[in-house]
Amino acid sequence: MTTPLPFEGLKVLDLSWVVVGPTTAKYLGDHGATVVRVEATTPLDILRTAGPFKDNVPGFDRSQFFGEYNTSKLGISLNLKNPAGKEIAKRLIEWADVFIESFTAGTVDSLGIGYETARELNPSIIMVSTCLMGQTGSAAAFSGFGFHAGSIAGFYETTGWSDLPPDGPWVAYTDTVAPHILSASIMAALDHRRRTGQGQFIDASQLEMSLHFLSPQIMDYSTTGKTVTRIGNRSEFFAPQGAYPCAGDDRWCAIAVESEEHWEGLKSAMGGPDWALDGKLDSMEARLENHDAIDQHISEWTKDQDAKALMQLLLSHGVPAGVVQRSSDLETDPQLSHRSYFRHLEHQEMGTVPYAGHQFRIKGYDSGPRFASPVLGQHNEQVLRDVLGMTDDEITEAIIAEAIM
């Protein structure tokens, strides 16, 4: 007997692009929904033009940045500016239970496929519009990427070294926050719809979702005027902590002393070093004050050690420690292997490539992803024929009308 999938039978129209919308739709697809990802070719989803590319050879169908967020989806390339293309979009809206789009606020209305139209076509549809700033307000049209919203939110101010300009988190930070929250919101809306038959419209601002990740700091500012800023790897409250150099090329081990127990553990792992013998550093305050000097001692001790062996030594003394893992390290991480985290799937152009798995496992259920991301227009005919029930003649007409590209 096969286990049913959580969202088996659910129909999702994914008219979004870049990261947040596609990731959210991918969650539903990986967990069983039929997802039709509609792509426009002008402009192309920018992720198709951004690396990493398979074997470092650029190509629209070779980007795993695109691939990662479009697993378990049927892909069609549709010209939404063409009347026949728009008709097909409307038929997909009639078909769908969930319709996700992530264009600049107002774009779907101007294309004639906004919520008013969607609701007329399909009264119980759940439509999700997600953009950086939300659908209303004077900055609604502020379009851009997760680094724009990340900067406005405060994540650039708080990522970097105190004596250097802000570094910012890797690539597009709010794109990493929003999908968790948006997926949960859609799943809750689906549960409500299951019980009541009622659909609705969801306005999801990626900035507003992400600000919860700075909530204590925002509260702190509003009550004390204190503004949090970047302090490298340090903590205002715990010391010592940092990423310490190890043997080899650019190898590092993160160590965090958050309690007196951790501190005792660190000292014993270091064999009771002379500089810490007098007990003057046996309080968090003293260690915060002498962080530079302590870091020098620790670095001196770590720099010729193997990062993984060092981590094991520290863990055996009860000290939180972790190797700074790179993409290449994740490939061989035994814990990730144990979780079957990476899934190797056959992609039409790239061949067998790894896709990241899910952040959770449900006992007795294999969460996927189920199949690889589509090459551009891979499922054009399948979607028109099997999903929309179009005849061969209708499909030919759509191709002649340049609705499909």
């Binding site: 049913p4 959580p6 969202f7 402009p43 033009t49 990493p52 398979k54 470092n56 939300g134 209303t136 307000g137 379009s143 851009g144 680094f147 724009h148 900067s151 406005i152 405060g154 970097g160 300009p165 802000p166 570094d167 988190p169 690539v171 794109d175 968790h180 929250i181 997926s183 919101s185 809750a188 809306a189 549960d191 609705q200 419209f201 507003e208 979702m209 919860h212 990740f213 700075l214 509260m219 702190d220 500012y221 009550t223 790897n233 409250f237 590092w252 081990c253 965090a256 939180p320 972790g322 790179r326 993409s327 991480d333 814990q335 798995g357 952040q359 959770f360 496992r361 449900i362 969460s367």
Partner: protein, 408 residues
Amino acid sequence: MLSPYTVLDLTGGRGDLASMLLGDMGANVIKIEPPGGSAGRREPPFMEGGLEAERSLNFFAFNRNKQGITLDLESKAGRNALRALVKEADFLFESGQPKTLDSIGLGFDVLKNINPKVIHVAISPYGWDGPHSDYAASDLTIAAMGGPMSVQGVRERAPLRISVPQVWLHTGAEAATAALTAHALMIQTGEAQFVDVSAQTAMIATMLSATSAHAIQGTDYQRAGALLQLGQASIPLVFQCADGYVVIAPTGPTLAVIVHWFVEEGLVPESWISGEDWPTYHFRLLQGQPISYPLDEVLEAVTKLAIRYTKSQLLERGLAEGVSLAPVNSVGDLAGFKQLEERGYWLTAPLPNGQEAQVPGLVVRMTETPMSVRSWTPTLHEHNNDVLGSVLGMSKEEISLASGVDAG
């Protein structure tokens, strides 16, 4: 929206956001703490003054829409009370060392017999089982093992985390999605579900394009500060302006507008305006196709432009002309961002120390089942009598025994 459901939150500072999200969505959430309070109550930053157990801003931020009770799970009375609560609950979140609940006879195998439809969500640093499941961990070490640190920061210095702890927030938010996915599965199968959420993998998800970089392109990405690395091209994003920094991406829609500013300011010749199809500039740049003006020259003009204006001037003029220039805001700058005020985003919360704080509002806007904040974070054992007395029908004496706190 989730009002038919009851959620038990046993997480101790590592996953409070999960049940908060379900609470914002309407679920009835009961926060269950040990008699001395959740470890989360000792998490900085702290507010000024007030009782020790109520001072954590971190705890306050992620425990709204919850009733708060204490249970002494080391006592039989406490464990029995938890069993009684599980019987009526739909979700249970916990974040102890893996198998802590098992060790007191309340593991999933027991809970699913008490309630055959319960969704048990266990949050942990590396996962419920496996070779790293017992590793001691902190925000920093999980950010390291998850990978994002390897691509953040500058090559000349150590790999870098975000200075504000993020790990348990990613993990908590994902745990909400995990819980609702498992709930959808339970609807299909009719069976209780056990969900194992790993913080390490939640951090891997923040690596975006770097996740599988090595397997795909043969090399890891190297950290290079604020340089946006897109395979074929690398683009600096952060520029200094008159009073700080601003993020400007040299993409088509941006350049099509600010090329006029360059000309106005005498930074480039007027011929630049018609000399390039600016709206498609970045697509050709990323694809290695011909461009009229090299990226270096474009960036030089951006650099010279940015330094002449303040963050708010750049944001305002950008908004007026439809171009996205994003100030590197501090939390103070953010408070003045009109968009959030116009959308009625901010909420005001009364803190236990008597102050009022501005707090982030509803995560998303929904037309038919709007989310809401119905109550602020409970004080320690605030609802012991309501929940244990009124709901479970326990006497004062029984409440005292089960909760580890004198019920009077």
